[in-house]
Structure formats: C-alpha cells, structure tokens
Amino acid sequence: MSAISVRDVWQVYDGRVVLERISLEIKSGSFVAIVGPSGCGKTTFLRMLMSEERPSRGTILLDGRPLPDEPTADRGVVFQRYSVLPHLTVLGNIMLPLEFLGSRLLGRLFGAARRDAEAEARAMLAHVGLDGAEHLYPAQLSGGMQQRLALAQALMGKPRVLLLDEPFSALDPGTRAEIHGLTKRLWEETGMTVVMVTHDLSEAFRLGTRIVVFERLEPERGTRITFDIPVEGRKKPQEHRTPREMHIVTQEKSPCDRIAVGRRPSAWSAATTTPISTPAKAAAGRP
Amino acid sequence: MLGKHRPLPRCVPSWPNRSGERGTLMLTRKEFLQVGAALGATLAAPAVVRAQARKRFSLAWTVYVGWMPWPWAAEHGIVRKWASKYGIEIAVTEVNDYSTSINQYTAGGFDALTITNMDTLAVPAVGGVDSTSIITGDYSNGNDAVILKDKTDFAAIKGQRVNLVQYSVSQYLLDRALQMHNMTERDVNIVNTSDADMAAAWLTPAVTAVVTWNPIVQQILRNPNAHEVFTSAQIPGEILDLCIVNTKTLNQHPEFGKALVGAWYETLAIMLSPGPTGAAARTEMAKLSGTDLAGFDDQLKTTRLYPNPAEAAAFTASPKLRQTMEYVRQFLFTHGLMGQGAPSPDVVGIEYPDGAVQGDRKNIKFRFTDRFMRMAADRTI
C-alpha cells in the first residue's frame, strides 16, 4: 500500500482552475521532490497534503485512509520561514512536541518526565548539529540553523510523512549544501516518506528518489503533472525506524555554525555513540 | 540721543555717511532714528485712538432662571436698541459652563458677567480684577435647596455624606443651614459632585443627601423619596444674582453700564407683565433654558426678582447687604478661598454705594453701586 495516494485531485478557486487531474502514488519511504515554475500550484498541492486546504475534486489517502480534515501529527511539516516558535529557546522548541504529547492539560512537563524529555531533546539537538545553541532564541540563529531546528522539531513529532515547503530556498549555497547532507542523512536514518516542494532542480535531483514536475501548459488550464522521473541509484532505507531507536553518531559541525553560535563550544567534537533506548513516557500510546 | 559711543568693531558694518559709496538710499543715524520714531508713533496712534473710542463690549451669561432675560433681550433687539442709544455695540454671549464663564471674565475675555455675589468675591475679586456690580437682579428665594432621601427633618443630615458642588453657593447654603441648626461642617461628609450628574446620582442608593440648585432641585423633588429640608428662602437676600462689569472699563465707558441697565429693566417689565406679552416672553425664556412655561414660572416663584429699580437700589444700599457679604467673606475665608496666605477676610476690600468699605480700603476689588439703578428709577437712564 502506498503511503500517500492522490487520485484525480483538482483545485479550483472562484472558477479558476489551479490544479487539475493530479494523480500520484507515493510509496512509503520514498523522497519525492516536486518541482515547477513559481506560482504553478506546487505549494497549493502541499497544502492539501497537510490538510491546510481541501481539494475541490478528488481524494487523497494516507495509508489507505482518507486524509483528516485538519493538520495532524502524522504529517510533519517544515516551511521556508516561521517554522519555529520565536518565544522559545532552541531547546524549548525541540521539547515542544514531547510536551504536547505528554501533558494534555498544561502543555508542560515537570520533574522526571521533564528530565527525560530534555535528554531526548538534547540528543536530537546534537544529532542535527545544534548543541551549544540550546539557550539561544531562533532570532539569534542563522538561517541554516533555524532550518535545522525546524527539521529537528518536526522529526521529534515522529510523523509518518514529512512535508517540506521550499525549506532551503532562503539559504546561501554553502549552508544549503550542508543542510542537504543533514536532510539526506535524517531521511536515511528514519526511513520516512518525504514530499518536498522546491524550485531548485539540482536540489531535487540531489535529494529525491523521484522528481514530479508540475507545469501549467496552457494559460487557461490548470497545472498538471508533466513529468514523473525516478532517480536511479539512490540508497533507500531498509525499514521505517524512529529516531529514538537510532544510535546517535557524531557529525562534523561546519565552521559557519561555530561562528554563528558565538558561545563556548560544547563537547561536540568528541565522537560518542550513545544508544538511547529508553523511550520517554511520552511515547506511550503513540501509534 | 546717542551721544558718545565706542567705535564699532570691525566685523559690524558701519553706517555709511551721506556721501557713502553704497548709494543715496542709505540713511544716516539721525535720519534713521527720526524715521523710526515717526513710524512708531503712527503705529501706536491707532491703538491709543481706539482705546478712547472703544465701541464694542461683551456680556457673558449662563443658563439660570435669573439670567434668562439677557438672551431674550438680545434676540428681541432690546440690547441693540439701548446700545445704539449710546453709540456702542454689545455682544451677548452664552457660555455653557458657569465656572468657565467666571474664569473667562477674570482672564479678561468678557467685560460684563452674570454671576452670584459669592463667586464675584471668590474669583475675580480675589483674583485681582476690580469688578462693579451694577444690577442686583434677584435673590434665591428657594432656588437652592438641601434635599434628603426618606427624611423630612434637617437634623437628620448629621453624619451623612452630602453630595454638592464643593465651594459653590450650595456649600454656602449648607453651612448657613448647619449654623442655624447648631451644627458645623464636621457633622457631615462633603462629596464633591458635579451639578450635571446630580440628578443621576440621586437615583443611586448610596446618595442620601444633596444640596443643589434649580432646575435640578425640581427634577430631584419629582422622586417620591426626596424631601426639601432647607432652602434659600430661609436665608433670604443672601444668595444674590448680579450683573458685574469690569470697573476700569465701566469708569472709562459708563455708557456701557447705562445701556445694560436700561435694557435690563425694560426686559423685566415686559417679562413680568400679566398679559399675553409677558407669557410669550417667559415661554421663550423657558425654551431657551430647556423647560416649558409651567416649569419656568415655577422657578420664578422661588426667585425674588427686583423688577423695580428703586427697590433694587434701596436693597443695594441697605445694611442687609453688608451683613450678607460678611457671612460670605467669612465662609470664603474659612475655606481658604480668599487667596493663599491670606491672614484675614480683609485682604480684599468691598465697597458699598455710600462709600463704606469692608476690608482693605487700599485693595478694593468688589464694588456695589446703585448709581445706574437709581438712574433707571428716575428714568434718566
């Protein structure tokens, strides 16, 4: 069964057809890059996948079941901007999904639960190359670090599918290259299904296992899928694993990040292999 | 005029002399001064001339039964008639707020004002503006009242919170009432309340005693729980409604005073005449003050007007007025309203028609005159 099944989806605004006859079967674990000229409707499509909008016609299924009417935790998302919360520190941002899950009434964890969540969060921070920045606010981070944070935060929610809306367009080429590396590694480690919208073709080829091209062929008609290109030789993960079941390995930090943090460097250069096998209480009850 | 002078520093251009290179339009120092003096004189002259031939004067009034004759007289050309008789113009202006009218008069914005005797002493007189009362229009004969809720005896006011406009004639009335019942202000708690909101305040349960004036008194008495326990009828002749004029202006232009007094008594005669003309006049005055003929006539019942100028003049010259002003000055002095640091109520002098003075003879700022009223009585106005 495909992870995502899009069947004959149309999107019409005020009589104007934006998308027409979009049909797509996305296999679990694949990395689909959606490319196309600006304004052609790629983001509209992504919005439908995250339930921000509803298609005028057609159906979308997630794991065989119809898509929920509102955004839910099974579909994580990273936007180009405003993906993280400005009033929380980096650590606070990463802990947030655990707190949402673990504390229905107050949205906050205390005591032992909090300590566990913090440990998990720190591990994730280290994994994406943000340790040392725990107590900074997003506004104090560089663009690249903000997007790392956004990715980490999305992954903490353990989504089934990860939706990326032009997440790296605002970054400079150097930072972009690093974050491509990070993204690819995270995808390989978790085996998630990823759908990424981008207008950068080289990025699509670098990361994706499949490129889907959206194009508006005639001005009065809607956008359609014109090309659907599988990318050869991309290593696919063997099984779907959650980040918590991974071994955390060191990664090298880029000099850029070091300068951007501007604080005393933590023990980031030591190579550690720390299995984190204790699931936090928050994991209980999570499908 | 200049005499010897130090040579000017080199940075300042020196005056050219007649045969200077800069041309013949430049003036010598002497010529410059001559031209300057001539110019100054030309500019100042109209001001001097204007002061002596001043023709425009202003009177301010506020809505109150005793002062309604003024707008009626202005609308019916009576003011214009009397003003033209003396070759002047008089502007009759309504001011919405009584306090503001007094302040504007004191600041020099008006030449004449409708005002009570107490407020004349407290504001313009103490404020250094010498004023003369030319008309004693009426006294409050029940227009000001103390009203209690669910009680009919004045003594019941003891220990109560009393809502009134602090430092106004209402407080004076209360003080005199307390005096006459062997009580003092210490036996009550005064809460300053604006007259505009007095009627609404009465409807709240916390308000049980008010002192105010008409037409608010009438309004409040319409409530069945309201009882009048003391009125100005019990202190007749003490709360006076006057027409005052800036003394300096009056001395320079007595015709202004004559025009005002002439217009006043003519209007009063019409207004109080028994026939339909009188009723028509009073109906108009009622409308101008926001009520109807019945309501206005009701208010007139508690206002002792002096339509007869001879009576008014006699009252003004009587010792009763002196006694009243003595009460008033003591009231103002004990409440600190005769100016800060005033050692006694004598700081301001009050002059009477016979020349007698209460207070500092060297600082007379409030004068009662019966001159114009007597002229009106003798028909020589």
Partner: protein, 272 residues
C-alpha cells in the same frame, strides 16, 4: 546636500531636543511676567514663585482640615483607582482577545459587537453607569475599564490574527490541541504585545480617571484639579498636570523596561 540626508551632530542633537521645551518654558514665563506686571493677583499664568508656593502647600504641608499631605493622598487615591481599573481591563482584554482571536465561532459572534462598543463614548453613558453601579469607587474603576478594555481587546484580536499561519500549522502537526496552542503558543507571544497595547492605553486611562473623579469624589488628582478650577487656581492646576504627566511618563518607561527584561526574544524578533 538634500535636507533628508543632513544629520545633526552630537552636540546639536541634544540642543535640538531641548529646544521646543525651552521655547515653551520661555514663552510661558514671558507671558506670565507680562500679565503679572499688569495685575499682581492674576491667576491665569502663575509665576514660578506662585507655583512653588502651591506645591509647598499641597505636597509638603499638612492640610488643616484632614491632616494629610494633599498631593500624596490625592496621588494615592488616583493611583489606586487607575491601577485597579487597568488590572481588570488587562485581565478581561487578555482573556477575551485571545479567545475571540483564536476561535472562529467566537470571532464571528463578537468582533462586530466589540467594535461597535468601542465607539460608544463612555463619558456620554455615564448616567447609566451611575444608576448601575452608583457614584462611588466602583463607578470610577468601571469607567476606566469600559474606556480602555475595548481598544485592548481589538488590538489583541488583530495581533492574534497576525500570527503567521505557518506557525499555527506547524504546531498542529506537532500534535497540539487548541487548548495547548492557546497556552504554549498564543499566550506567550501575546504577552509582550499586551504590554504594548497597555502602554498605548495609559493616556486614555488617565483621561477617564480624571473625568470620573471630576464627577463625584472626595479625593484624587482629578478631583483636586476640578475643585480648584472653580477658583481659577492655575497655580495648583499646572503643577498637578505636570505631576500627572510625569507619572504617566514613568509608567510608560517602567512598562518598556519590563517588556524588554521579561521578553528578550520580542525585541530580537523586531531587530531582525
């Protein structure tokens, strides 16, 4: 060089800022001197000496009747009413503003009504207010609340609507319920904006306080001003007005500092 590109130097900057104040002070004292020369008892523009004497009387000597230092007791009464009124207004505005801003059903129901309510001039409905709550302390505090809360509510509603949509989508994808979003996302971000709205409301709040005290009171800064206004005592009124201005300025500064200390991230956002 274009006038828009000319910048004053360091010294000039301070002089320029002080200039209008100096000009106003000089104009005042010149006019005052002229009037006092003509009439030494004049009350319209009191001299520095007269105002100093008034200040000494009101602030530094005990009132004969009540034994209190009038300026201090007036200030205490007024501040009590002001702070209570503002506290209630802030509480109501925060709760209502966030609820209405977040929940579409509530928004549809209440936005038009709140807008209309905010247009009603509170001073005009004062008689109704008196009948409802009397003319005591409650009425004054209520007037301040009615005068300031609608603006703060509307402001907060707009700020909630301004939160970036991606942010709200993101937290929903992290599993948050509406309540959790309110508690962890909206409320913390609205607190510094609430302080902004409060700072803007300080001026009107003082206005309503003084108007309320003018109507029925026994003490307070507004009470004193309206009381002595009858007697044209500008030598008391002007120092009182200056004092109120100073207090308002202090509150504004305190709020600004508090906002910066308590919400360091807020300033960062806008610096970017």
């Amino acid at each position: 060089m274009r006038v828009i590109n000319r910048h004053p130097g360091r010294q000039a900057r301070q002089i320029l800022t002080a200039l209008p104040f100096l000009a106003a002070v000089i104009a005042y004292f010149t006019a005052s001197a002229i009037r006092l020369a003509a009439n030494p008892e004049d009350r319209l523009l009191p001299s520095l000496g007269q105002m100093a004497a008034a200040v000494r009387r009101m602030a530094f000597s005990q009132d004969i009747a009540s034994g209190q230092y009038l300026l201090l007791s007036d200030t205490a009464m007024s501040l009590q009413r002001l702070l209570l009124g503002l506290a209630i207004a802030v509480g109501i505005s925060f709760a209502v503003g966030i609820a209405v801003g977040m929940v579409p059903y509530l928004r549809r129901t209440f936005v038009a009504f709140i807008a209309a309510f905010s247009m009603v001039p509170p001073l005009a409905v004062l008689p109704i207010l008196f009948i409802a709550v009397g003319i005591g302390e409650t009425a004054k505090v209520t007037l301040i609340v009615i005068g300031t809360a609608p603006f703060m509510i509307r402001d907060l509603i707009m700020r909630v609507e301004e939160l970036p949509r991606p942010q709200l989508i993101k937290v929903q994808t992290l599993g948050a319920t509406s309540w959790q979003i309110a508690l962890r996302v909206v409320v913390p971000q609205m607190l510094p904006r609430l302080i902004d709205a409060l700072r803007l409301s300080l001026g009107p709040a003082w206005l309503y306080l003084i108007s309320a005290e003018a109507i029925a009171a026994e003490s307070g800064l507004g009470y004193r001003i309206f009381l002595v206004r009858r007697y044209f005592a500008m030598d008391v009124i002007l120092p009182y007005v200056a004092w109120i201005t100073l207090l308002a300025f202090l509150f504004d500064a305190l709020l600004r500092v508090f906002q910066r200390r308590a919400f360091p991230w807020f300033a960062l956002e806008y610096m970017r």
